[in-house]
Structures are given as C-alpha cells and as structure tokens.
C-alpha cells in the first residue's frame, strides 16, 4: 500500500521515516494529542513552490521528485469534537485570529467561535517565516481553506464508511456529520473511533468558492474580544513567572559609542541584584523594577562616542553615502524602458522635483518586552515579536544553545506595524535570566523603544517627468535614495521610463514599517502627477484614468471619487480637494481628501478622507474596514507631523510628549468603501491602505493654499503661506 508521499493519504503517526523533519515537527506525542481517545490531524505540506522560505535540503524518495519538508498549517479535531487550528502566525491586532478561524469554520460548516486557534508558539505550531508583508491572508488563509476542506472530506468519508451510508447523502452541519432527515447524526469526535489519524495533503484540494461563503466573508466579531475589554488578556509584558526578577540594560549615550570601562561594584552590592557584564552587554536583574532602575543607575560606565549627522544634513548625507549594492525590498531595484532623453524632448510640459521623507517610529503602544525562563538547559521566552521562529534562532545563536531547546511564545501582541521583527528584549531577558538563575522580565521604556529599535527609512526622491498636452506621459525618470523600492514601479503608462533605487548608508538603524517604501514612493509619484495635471489644466482624476491600464486601480479611484463626490462641487474658501491612488502586495487603494488651511494661523485641518480599497475576496468586511481606517489614521501621522529628530548619534524626541502621533482630535470624517471581488484571490490588507493618504492630503493642501509641499511630514508646524 505504498502511495506517493505528497499526495492525499492517511498515515499512521509512527511513519516518521517518510517525512522526516516535517512530521517530527508535528511531534504528536508532545502535543498530547494521544492523551485521550482519538483525534484527527490534517496538515498541509508545503512543496518547493508553495514554501516561502528558501528550499531546504531535499530528500529523495522512491517515486522521485522533491519531498515537501515543511508543514504550513494544521488542524486538529479532538475526540471531544473540539476543532483547533495551529499556525505560526502572530496576532498583532490585525484580527487574523478571527479571519483564519472563519475560513476553517467555513469549510467545516461551523460557527467561527467553534474553531480555536493556537498561534505563534514555536513548540506547538508549524514553522512560519513571520507575520509580515501582508502575506497571512493570501498564504495562510489559503492553506487553512485547504486543510479545512480536506478535513471535511475525510469526515464525510469516515461517516460513510462507518455508517454504511451513501457519501453523497451526508453533509456537515453544526459540528456533526448528518444524514438524510438528520439521521444518523454523528459528532466529529466519534468518527475517529479512538484512532489517531493523520492526513497530509498538498495544494490541490478544492475549497468552497467565495461566492458561496456563509461564514468567511462575514463580519464575525473579534475572537476572544471579551478578554481584551476585561483586562484578562496577558500580553508578553503582563506575563508573570514564580521568582521573576526585573531586568534593565545599560544603553550607550549615543549610537555606535564604544564601552571603554564599566564599574559594577555598587550595583552588585545592592540586595537581590544580579549584574551581568559580558563584553559590550551590561545588564542588571532585581526583585522590583524600582530596584532594577536604581541598580542600573549605580553602574558607572565610560564611553567613547562617535557622534553622527543631524536631521538637517540627512538628505545630503544619504545621497553622498551609498550603501551596499542596491537591494530594495518590494521590487527590482532598477527598471528601464526606452529613452528618457527622447521622452523629455517629446514632452510639452516637464517637471523636475525632489522629495524628502523623514525617519518615523512605529511607536507600538506596547514596547518591546520579554520574560525569559530557563529550566534544565531549556529556555522559554514570552515576547512580542512578529517572527517567533526567527527570534528562536536569534536566541539559540546569542545564548549558544540548540534551537530545539528554545521555545518562543508570542501572546497576542500590543501591535507591531512591522517594527517588532527583531527580538532584542528576548535576548536581553534570556541573558539576564541565565545569569540570575531566575526568570527575568525586560520591558523597554518608551525612550528605549524610540531609540534602540529601528525606524522607517528616511528617503530622498528625485523625479523628472514629461507629458504631452493631450495628457499622456512621455517620460518618467525616478530615483529613490535609501527609502526603498516598494511601489517604485509606475502603474501608469509611459513609453520611456527609468526607475532606480539607490541604497545608502543610513545613519540611523532602519527597517520594515507598514507598507515599507510604498508610502514614500506613492507620495512622490502622486504629487508629481498632480503637478503635471495642474500644468495641463486637466482634472487630476481624469488625468490618472487616462494613463492607467490597470482596471483594479482605476476601479478604486472611481469608487473613492464617487464616495467623495469628486467633481460635484468646488471646495469652500480655504479648503481644497486632493486625490491619490496606489497598489502594493496585490491590493489597491485610492484616497480623496478635503483639507482646510487657516490663512492667519497656518493651522491645517484634514476635514474628510474617503478611501476605496480592493483586495480580492474579503474575509471579514468589518475587520477589513478597521484595518483600512487604522492604516489611514496612522498614515495621517507620517503625512502631517511625525518625524524623528536626531543629532550627534542621539534621538532628540524619544517620547510621546515630543513625538506627535495622531490622537482623537486629529481624526477627520473617515469614509471607507470596500470593493469585494469574490472572483479574485484574497490579498492582504495590512499595509496598502496607508499609501495614498499623504499625497491626497498634500494635493488638497495645494488646492487650498497654493502651496506645494514635497516633504514628509508636510506640516509639522502648520502651513505658512507667503
């Protein structure tokens, strides 16, 4: 009964030799699946094409071809009929705990509350590359649809066989398999008959089509919502372990400062205090946070500082200090077609402009935090990170222990926005816990979170464009320094273009931030387009539509314009209207803005924002709307006033009293239009909705006040009109 591995087949759990690591990772016995009665596990194997990580080493099997090594998603049906889905993804407020439960519930014909998710625990859940890049919906939800469908088909098979009933007359309803006129009616758990069944599947299982969804596609409420409004939910920073100490780490006075000497005698003398000095790492652990702060203050250190450029010199610095060979996330770093020279020569109107984008901070409300506990050489760390398996590897390396001895658990987090891919607090807590011989909690202060994490890259963008009087683009030359390549590709038709990303030696630590460089690149592009439309005397919407061949982008533009009432009326005195659009990660956004400027005070007010968004088949309209609104609000901050100030290797505004983030009083009227394309695969929505806010508002300000702003943030101190 040999069947080719990688296709559908039922497997006794002990056939470990067939799948090696992938099945061992399932580690059935450690999960207690075998504790009572029977169980059914359905797991989806990822082949080379589906795997997101680089192909692992392949094992040959008798039937030839590469063997899938990773299991992406699995589902467990217990003897008690409880349905549990396991994923390495992390819940950061984007509500995938809810939407993933919905897609499983859809296939099993259950209410979503009947599906429980176990997430982001390196000991319990499959490997995952990280919760980032808007990939959960297109990849993980798709996998769960398949395992859910496979589980359904298997339950029907089992019921047909066990009850000697024609399979076609059976269906799933409310956690049971039911026959004609409700007889027989068999709980899922009964069907395993005390056996431990494991079904491994590949990508080819058909799933319920979105136009027939009754559970997915609805605005199911937030899973476990009650625990958040009662304070019951424990974030990583709330975890408490017996005997736990509080840890603090000595920070340099400025970036790249060198530790010359350190004296820890006074700190060591304090009761209950452990001090760890290991190379450049100096940290303390103490029975209370207050004692830890005092112990750290008692450490005397001498540093050699190197200083650094200031924010004023930044953009010149970026252009003059190239980084390692250009590698921008989100797209090829260079793309050329035709001749810019000829394109500009053919143009009736030309525009040359330079845009700058500041470093900004993610500022998640929960700062980095970790609790680390050692037991018999095994390390467990509770922490807020978007990459639990990545951080497990980081811990193994930093602490010199095998990864198998490290467990990372990520409770639903206090946000990330791309800013928590790294595990600094986890490593710090683990080091201190090992030194102290007790669990240690490290929670970064807000100052530390604003200083020692990483920022959204700053950017310098230079654009040269040409357009004919009839409104068609003739040339588009575009250079992005440091910010990145996401959305650098021009979505409009242009016969001659050159688009290039130049990496730079960033003076500040930088990394992923919601939508990456798409915000900067969409701002530069959509502002330039607005200038060109203005030069030609063309309506900005009509000008865009004329040059767009992407029907999905055109659709959101038209939907936003319709919702906003674009073209219906002129803006009142001191007000202006603006429009912008963008696409990234397979989803599409357009935003229309109304902004007002007070001529005397220069105070800018965003009055109204209408956003249209399309991401294929929508899993949860209510939560999608929340994500869009949240991204738009966040985008307002980066558009209007957020900026990291720095000089001499120090951050000058590392606190909320000095770094302004959007608050209740900043919120305009927000209107959201969802285009639900059930005929298209579901795409992610965590990032793209942020990208059109800044240019839409900037374009509105231009109309309101006649002032063109080419820097983000646009109006940190209001708008002075000459």
């Amino acid at each position: 009964m040999s069947e080719p591995p990688g296709s559908d087949f039922l497997l006794e759990p002990e056939r470990y030799e067939l799948l090696g690591d992938a099945l061992a990772n399932l580690e059935l016995s450690r999960r207690g699946f075998l504790r009572t009665g029977g169980s059914l596990v359905v797991a989806l194997l990822l082949g080379e094409a589906a795997a997101q990580q680089p192909p692992a080493e392949r094992r040959q099997r008798p039937f030839g071809g590469p063997l899938p090594r990773e299991i992406g998603a699995w589902l467990h049906v217990g003897a008690d009929s409880a349905v549990t889905a396991f994923t390495g993804k992390v819940e950061i407020g984007q509500n995938i705990r809810t939407s993933l439960a919905q897609v499983v519930a859809e296939e099993l014909r259950l209410p979503p509350a009947r599906v429980r998710l176990v997430m982001a625990d390196t000991q319990l859940t499959p490997y995952d590359f990280g919760t980032a890049g808007s990939q959960t919906t297109p990849m993980m939800a798709a996998q769960f649809r398949r395992v859910g469908a496979a589980a359904r088909e298997l339950l029907l098979d089992l019921a047909a066989e066990q009850h000697k009933i024609e399979r076609g007359s059976l269906r799933l309803a409310d956690g049971k398999v039911v026959g004609p006129e409700g007889k027989p009616s068999v709980d899922f758990g009964e069907l395993t008959r005390g056996q431990k069944l494991v079904k491994l599947i590949d990508d080819k299982i058909p799933t319920t089509s979105p136009d027939r969804w009754t559970v997915a596609g609805t605005s199911a409420p937030k899973a476990d919502g009650r625990e958040f409004v009662t304070g019951e939910h424990r974030y990583a920073s709330d975890v408490r372990r017996p005997g736990m100490l509080f840890g603090k780490v000595l920070r340099p006075p400025s970036f790249k400062a060198e530790l010359l000497s350190v004296q820890t005698k006074d700190a060591e003398a304090m009761p209950g205090v452990t001090v760890l000095h290991d190379g450049a790492f100096v940290g303390v652990a103490a029975p209370t946070e207050q004692a830890a702060v005092r112990a750290l203050a008692a450490v005397r250190a001498e540093w050699k500082e190197v200083g650094g450029p200031s924010a004023d010199e930044l953009f010149k610095y970026l252009k003059e200090h190239p980084g390692a060979a250009g590698r921008g996330f989100g797209g090829p770093s260079r793309s050329t077609h035709g001749s810019i020279k000829e394109g500009l020569a053919a143009a009736d109107k030309k525009r040359e402009a330079t845009y700058t984008v500041a470093y900004i901070a993610h500022a998640p409300l929960e700062p980095r935090a970790a609790v680390a506990e050692w037991a018999d050489g095994n390390l467990t760390v509770w922490t807020g990170t978007q990459r639990p398996f990545g951080v497990r590897g980081d811990l193994a390396n930093a602490l010199g222990v095998p990864a198998e001895r490290v467990r990372v658990i990520v409770p639903d987090m206090g946000a990330g926005y791309g800013g928590k891919h790294t595990g600094e607090a986890a490593v710090e807590a683990a080091r201190l816990a090992r030194a102290a011989g007790k669990p240690v909690k490290v929670v970064w202060t807000r100052e530390e979170e604003f200083t020692w994490a990483y920022f959204r890259p700053a950017g310098l963008i230079e654009v040269t464009a040409g357009v004919k009087a009839d409104g068609t683009l003739t040339a588009w030359e575009y250079h992005n320094y440091n910010s990145g390549a996401s959305s650098m590709r021009l979505p409009y038709e242009a016969p001659n273009y050159h688009v290039e990303f130049h990496s730079a030696d960033s003076p500040l630590r930088q990394g992923s931030y919601r939508a990456l460089a798409a915000t900067a690149n969409t701002f530069a592009r959509e502002t330039t387009l607005d200038d060109l439309a203005h030069d030609l005397g063309l309506d900005p919407l009509a000008f865009r539509l004329k040059n767009l061949k992407d029907a999905r982008l055109a659709a959101v533009l038209e939907a936003a314009a319709r919702q906003f009432g674009w073209g219906k009326a002129k803006a009142p005195a001191g007000h202006g209207f603006g429009i912008a659009c963008g696409t990234e990660k397979g989803s599409y956004v357009a935003t229309c803005a109304e902004a007002a400027v007070d001529r005397d005070s220069g105070r800018v007010r965003v009055v109204r924002l209408a956003t249209a968004f399309e991401c294929g088949a929508v899993l949860n309209p209510g939560h999608l709307k929340n994500q869009i609104e949240g991204a738009v609000v966040m985008g307002l901050g980066g558009a209007l006033f957020e900026a990291i100030e720095f000089a001499g290797g120090k951050i000058l505004n590392p606190r909320f009293s000095a770094y302004r983030v959007p608050r209740f009083s900043d919120i305009p009227v927000l209107e959201t239009v969802l285009l639900d394309r059930k005929d298209l695969p579901s795409a992610g929505a965590g990032e793209t909705p942020i990208v059109a806010v800044a240019p839409a508002v900037g374009n509105a300000l231009f109309q309101a006040a006649g002032v063109r702003i080419r820097s983000l943030p646009m109006v940190p101190r209001g708008l002075k009109q000459t």
Partner: protein, 159 residues
C-alpha cells in the same frame, strides 16, 4: 521611603508592603498582579495606565502609590460585576472599538470616568476627555462611537 501597607482596589482592601514612592502602576501590576493597566510611556501622555482613583481617571504611571493610599482605586478588572460586563465594555465589543487592545483598558476607564461626570456627552466632550489616550492602531472613530453608544445604553437603564 515610607511604605504602603494597604490599598483599596476594586472594592477590596489589599494588603501590601511597597515603597510609597513607587508608581501606582507598578504596585498594581507587579504586587497585586492587576495587569489590566499598562505601561505605555511612563510620562502620563498615552493613557494606557489609566485607572480610576475616587472615580477620576488617573494616569497611574505618574501617580505614586502613596498618593492613592486611602482612596478608592478601580482598575479594569473591577469593572464587570458578577461576570456581567459594564455597558462601556459591551459597547467596545459591539462597536469593534479595538484592534491590538493594548490601549483598551485605559480607554474604557477614561470613558467610565467621563460618563460618570457627564452622562450626556457631545462628540466634542468625548474627544476632549479622551485626548490623553493614544490608540496607535487608529481605532478612534469606533471608540467614539462605542462611548456614545454606551452613554445611550446607560441612560436607558436609568443609571
């Protein structure tokens, strides 16, 4: 440093042995394991640490434990009665007024404090009263809607 031996929290006298200069936030979270109030900024500017002290929304991160001695402290854990959620909690759930949820306890208690002194708040009243609370996930419009809904529900109950 004078010690604090007791705090009145959520209707109970809780025995303690804490340095009175420590923040109320730290004593509630670390000594009493009431982790609903959160650390967000340490300077009273984000509202995540909000608790009620004698009914007034208070930033516990910049309030000493000593300052709360002898007063009635209410945390998010003390809001639901007998397993029944407070109308503000119900409203937050119904309006989906949260994403990551970290700001939520502080938001809810700030709202409870507002509605206690102003049962009929205008939208401007809500915005002004909550201006010290940050929601980085941007759930602001739904938080306002939740508070307005809770105000209506609480008037309807005759509370």
């Amino acid at each position: 440093m004078p010690g604090i031996k007791e705090l009145h929290v959520n209707g109970f006298r809780r025995a303690l042995d804490a340095d009175g200069e420590r923040s109320l936030l730290s004593v509630l979270r670390d000594d009493l394991d009431l982790t609903g109030c959160k650390y967000g900024c340490g300077e009273g500017r984000c509202g995540a640490c909000t608790v009620l002290v004698d009914g007034l929304p208070t930033r516990s991160c910049v309030t000493t434990a000593a300052a709360a001695a002898g007063k009635q402290v209410k945390t998010i854990e003390g809001l639901a009665q007998g397993g029944k959620l407070h109308p503000v909690q119900e409203a937050f759930l119904a309006a989906d007024a949260l994403q990551c949820g970290y700001c939520t306890p502080g938001m809810i208690l700030s709202a409870v404090g507002l509605l206690a002194r102003e049962p009929n708040p205008s939208r401007e009243d809500v915005v002004r009263a909550l201006s010290g609370n940050i929601c980085r996930c941007g759930a602001y419009p739904r938080i306002v809607a939740a508070i307005e809904q809770a105000a209506r529900a609480m008037k309807g109950d005759g509370k």
